[in-house]
Amino acid sequence: DRAPGGPTAHIHSGILQVTSRDFDDLGYVEKTDFLLREWVTLIHSPSGIREPTKAFGTFVQHLNMHGFLKTDDVITRFFRISTRLCVDMCCQALTEQSNSPTVVRTKCYQTLDAYVKLIALLVKHSGDTANSGTKINLLNKVLGIVAGVLLHDQDAHTLEFQQLPYQRMFIMLFLELNAPEPILETINFQVLTAFCHTLHILSPSKAPGFSYAWLEIVSHRVFLGRMLALTPQQKGWGMYSQLLMDLFKFLAPFLRNAELAKPVTLLYKGTLRLLLVLLHDFPEFLCDYHYGFCDVIPPNCIQMRNLILSAFPRNMRLPDPFTPNLKVDMLPEIAHAPRVLTNFSSMIQPPNFKKDLDSYLKARAPVTFLSELRGNVQISNEPGMAYNIPLMNALVLYVGTQAINYIRSKSHTPNMTTIAHSAHMDIFQNLAVDLDTEGRYLFLNAIANQLRYPNSHTHYFSCTLLYLFAEANSEAIQEQITRVLLERLIVNRPHPWGLLITFIELIKNPTYKFWLHEFVHCAPEIEKLFESVARSCMVQKQV
């Protein structure tokens, strides 16, 4: 890990202070405990509820009297011990069987909420009004301490670890700091950044015992609203996409094996719900980051990926794919490239390979580039893990976007004729012919990931897939193309528009002789399936 700098420095220093082994003398812990209890009583008293700022003033005087605010170190120590004390109190309450769950919960909430209120007030009132740096540094430090205590607690208690105190501290502090107050509004973006960094540090891969609580926070309506809707210029989108990537990466190894134990199923369902909310309320967000998400979602998670690929900008009206004689070429939208907020060309590694690729695209030579292509994307001989999937995805999208530019540079528009006979199509045809079943599956998936709403990528890759089908030198390739399209359509909705368009064209247009292929008739259930798909697409079966 590189040494962190910038705003995260304080979070990391907070984490380190938790794990460092400096011994706190018992007197100090006792004093902190005493003061914390005093604060809990004070803030929950009628006068504290009415005028929390006044109660805070009184309490700060007490902290000062006991020397708790003397130096940064002392303050840090106060937070570290207080966090620990609050967590211990909750864990003890949760293990007590005598009380009803509601009573236990209420007891925990009262302590945690009081502590959160104290943190929020300290952050708000630290430094002078104009100095937001002090406030943000303190916030980062405290978040770091809570994160540090969490990680430490998880290692120490492993299976006994409790998510509750941390979840409540984070979400309540988030709500406190997003209240409609002028001081807080000026620092809002830094507050969001601080929380996102902290949640990234506590991502499910690093804190699996915290996963459910983590997802609760990340999908909390206020958190979602702040990150994706209320922050101007979509400045929260990048950070939020990072958190989603953390979630997908954690789920990937469990999902790819399709053996879903109950705990994984629950987290998976939660993820689908979150994606549905995003698809409904923030489709542009899913559009912009679809590439990065598809890179980490395992190929077999069809519906999860369909949710992302079905997103389209809200101001767009998609023509019904089942319209007879729909002319995709005539749609004005297919002239526009979609936004892709992942730097995919930099993912074509190593640099030498990228250089050779560029020179081949330019000169359509040497032919050895094509014969060596497979070796560049294949990383092992182990079945199921033979290929570098992110590289495959980057290669496909990069070559495709270069092809679109190339065709345009010659004053043409991409269609079934103009995409043929070029360096770009050489590469695609070579991949289709030269790769084994696994490689070809991943290659075709990389193409199908671009079949979305009407845009230049969708149109180009739709033509490419149909061209590869038409020009295939073996039934195996055609069967696999059909498989990739069909398996994305036989799952429940939603289905991406471009995917439907491509599949309908394939079964409708007689040039593809779709119904004459053997794989269509290989098994009665498959044949029935095709017929029912054809019926739902309102296509006449042509024999």
Binding site: R168, E216, F254, P263, N300
Partner: protein
């Protein structure tokens, strides 16, 4: 489920992650964990038969809906669901029915008849008010409603 690329055994790290997730599965977050503390109506989730409504009717969070509720329901929401959107909507609905909130006595008042005295500082007359201690509507004759105790913020 389908694994087109075939299953791959979980690495040690993933096995450890699964164990932790599995343990967390037995103490999942509750809805109340990320909500403000409810002093009166704490959530107590329990299984209810499927033929009972599982979700509230649509549009029950609109002012129109609150205006259709009885007074007593609105008073209940006002006193037992403090600091929620429901309380806000209940207060709004009560105001629409000419109930006024007295910030010192914490009671809702409604004129029983035209006040006998009205000046810049107060009005005086016969009022109906809701007594939350005994949970009943009462009449108060010759009551002086000082305007400094009138809650008159615009609820938007």
């Amino acid at each position: 489920g389908v694994a087109p690329l075939g299953p791959v055994p979980l690495q040690k790290e993933h096995q450890r992650q699964f164990q932790m997730l599995d343990a967390a599965f037995y103490h999942l977050p509750l809805p109340s964990d990320s909500e403000k503390l409810r002093s009166y109506l704490a959530r107590t989730p329990c299984p209810s038969p499927p033929y009972y409504p599982q979700v509230p009717l649509p549009d029950t969070d609109s002012l129109e809906f609150y205006q259709r509720l009885g007074n007593e329901t609105l008073f209940f929401i006002f006193y037992y669901m403090e600091g929620t959107k429901a309380q806000y909507l209940a207060a709004k609905a009560l105001k629409k029915q000419s109930w006024r909130f007295h910030t010192k006595l914490m009671h809702w008042y409604q004129r029983h008849e035209e006040p006998r005295v009205i000046n810049d500082e107060y009005e005086q007359g016969s009022y109906i008010f809701f007594d939350f201690d005994n949970w009943i509507q009462r009449r108060r004759e010759g009551f002086t409603f000082e305007y400094k105790y009138l809650e008159d913020r615009d609820l938007n």
